[in-house]
Amino acid sequence: MTHAVVCEDLWKSYRLRRPVGLKGMLLGGVPRDTRFARHWALSGVNVIVTRGQALGVIGPNGSGKTTLLAILLGAIPPDRGRAVLNGRAASLLELGAGFQGHLTGRENVYLYGSILGMTLEEIRSRYEQIAEFSEMEASLDRPLRRYSAGMIARLRFSVIIHSPADILLIDEVLTVGDARFQRKCVDALREFKRLGGTLILVSHDMEEIASLCDDAICLDFGSVVDEGPAREVAARYQDRTIGPGQSQAQGMNARISLLLPTRGRPELLRRFLESVLARSERPELVEVVVYADADDPTSHGFRVEGLEVRTIVGPRASMGDYNTACLEGSHGDIVVLANDDVVIQTRGWDQKLREMHAAMQDRVYLAYPNDLFKGRGLSAFPILSRTVCRLLGEPFPRAYRGAFIDYHLLDIFKRLERRGHPRLIYLEDVVFEHMHYRTGKGDFDAIYGKRDRFGDDDTFLRMRGERNAAAARLLAAIEGEAAPRPLAAAAPTPPELLKVSLLDSELPVSWRLRLFLWFVARNLARLVLGRGREARP
């Protein structure tokens, strides 16, 4: 038999009601409506693991991973289907059972070994190896209650890796202990596999899954939603989920992507890149994705020692296209939309962004730095998490040719604010100095002056429905709902401008007023400046 573990069509449900107790039984007090309510922890799960292979099990909390292990262990029976283990199994689960505080380390090794099914003889003959592996020979005669949690975890792992089990079920335990001991555990597990041992590993550490496992399955709501080579499954899972439940620590190691469309201003570009490097605390976690036009070779192939800079070269296109191309070429967890006429002035700006990112558990926010120009008023350089980018679908709509992307994003988050979730974060002490007109107005005019000054106004008005839908998706993500509920349907009647500003009940009143005044002002300007440049499609 080459299959070490075979699960066929496993189903398992739990009753949702609380245990009734004697009183409940005597009084017949089981509420009728909950009597049949069941939570399906597993529905039709098939697993096959070949001898000598390692299977990774991933998925969000409550997806059925622990239930699957418990059934494999025989701790609970499945409702339907069967699980067969061909071999001796031992488990190391995060609960931490089997150790007694009042016993010494040595006594615990014996008791735990016995629980695992080892005979006294087996334990005795391996005791020295276990003690040596744990690196705690000196403290094994002290009572366990004097041990730290990390020491207990080390001892547990040492016993289990020396047990004669040929199938190991491990749930999220390699995260304890220091980094060096973790590596030692991983090496020991590799050796265990090499000698023909079978491993089932539940972990939230995708790196661990990818490096240790051959195959992986991903569970969600009790079903296998993805399976295949471990590295691929882990990568897909990671892409899908960066969000609630991810640890603070992960947030503090977030990669930052600066998106930077540029044209014809290599000296500004260089100055920006140098300020990025000079002011970063951890430049190794920062990347810059530059978009340069194919006909603008002066902006191609910039290099700054110590900073990851990638240049995407493409045709001339809209600002939305540029930003989107940069976004698609970036890998960071935090995305910052920057300009080449910016100088980062704040030392450690990147850590400040990570702190903010880590603090936002669900990663739903629109942050923006102080540009010393518009300040709190406008998110000129929006900072978004990858989660928000994914939820928005098209965070920088291609339809915008040159402007209004900042307004567009701000508007979405104003809608969210109106729904009780103020997720706009103004980072006043992170200074992205916007040189703007101070950096040679001539260039600016030559390059951007050709575009239609008012062309994006209508786009902004037209895209109200999209913004509303985007806000609904963010709302659903914050409140943990599977499918977004639509916000109020767009009322079709009054003139577009009024509908989008003053009459839009999804927006805070102050923002409605500001939009209205802003558009009135722009329309006046449009009249004054004449209609000459306007009618380009």
């Binding site: 609970i76 609960l95 059972a97 629980i115 005979t119």
Partner: protein
């Protein structure tokens, strides 16, 4: 489907380690650990002696020996069952993590209390011989071990049954806290069965706990156990074993879900 194969020998070793661990916990770090364990039961016997002998004037020959010979087996039985009842709940982690909803857990509790009893036996025998003036009998050498086996056989199925039931309905352990004192006085422990009034007398005779305790007392006070009483207890033990086994087969697989 137990994932861990256990040979009888491995089970015995496991039982030994579990039991030893508990004994160590009780006696370690206490200078007078052994004395405390004895003093508790002797003190209880003393209280009953004052109350029934001195105050109420109960007329039983060698009342203090009658009390002591019954109290120690009773404490073993009641404490063993009570702690065993909690064994699945207390070891919930082991059960969830190791799939160890094993019949050996309550057995370990019964064995621990037996160990206390065995350790107390020299003191009990000393009391019987010195205070009661009875002669130590050679037959004790085989009859005492026989009684130990008999009591384990009788108590363990009860302990296992309650442990399983308590995993599902937590009230059982509190119920036992009330039940055992009631049972204590419903069993001729501090009074002889001879003073029970006639219509109730036969019912009291049916109580297997009375038969068990009477066996111990006749062992100590008459030098030999009463074969009829011992056989009656053995019969009960068999019947209880059948019930407990059925319960175990039915309830044990899902213990991991409910603890």
């Amino acid at each position: 489907m137990p994932s861990v194969e256990r040979s009888p020998r491995q089970l015995a070793e496991f039982l030994y380690l579990l039991t030893r661990q508990e004994l160590k916990a009780r006696y370690k770090g206490r200078f007078l650990g052994y004395v405390w364990a004895l003093a508790h039961t002797f003190a209880l016997a003393f209280v009953y002696w004052i109350a029934f002998k001195i105050i109420m004037g109960l007329d039983v020959t060698n009342y203090s020996v009658y009390l002591v010979a019954g109290m120690f087996p009773w404490v073993w039985m009641s404490v063993g069952v009570t702690s065993a009842t909690r064994s699945f709940v207390v070891n919930a982690l082991l059960i969830k993590e190791m799939g160890l909803a094993h019949a050996i857990l309550p057995l370990s509790n019964v064995m621990q209390e037996m160990a206390h009893f065995v350790l107390a036996l020299p003191a009990v025998i000393a009391w019987v011989v010195l205070a009661g003036g009875y002669d130590a009998a050679i037959s004790w050498l085989w009859q005492i071990p026989l009684m130990l086996v008999l009591q384990v056989a009788f108590v363990y199925p009860i302990a296992l049954g309650f442990a399983l039931a308590n995993a599902y309905v937590r009230d059982i352990e509190y119920l036992l806290g009330i039940g055992f004192p009631l049972l204590f006085f419903a069993t001729p422990m501090v009074y002889p069965i001879s003073i029970v009034p006639e219509p109730l007398h036969d019912w009291f005779e049916l109580n297997p706990l009375h038969a068990l305790m009477q066996s111990w007392r006749s062992l100590f006070m008459e030098g030999a156990l009463d074969p009829a009483q011992a056989a009656y207890v053995a019969g009960w033990a068999l019947a209880l074993a059948a019930v407990a086994w059925t319960l175990y087969r039915k309830l044990a697989p899902r213990v991991g879900e409910v603890v």
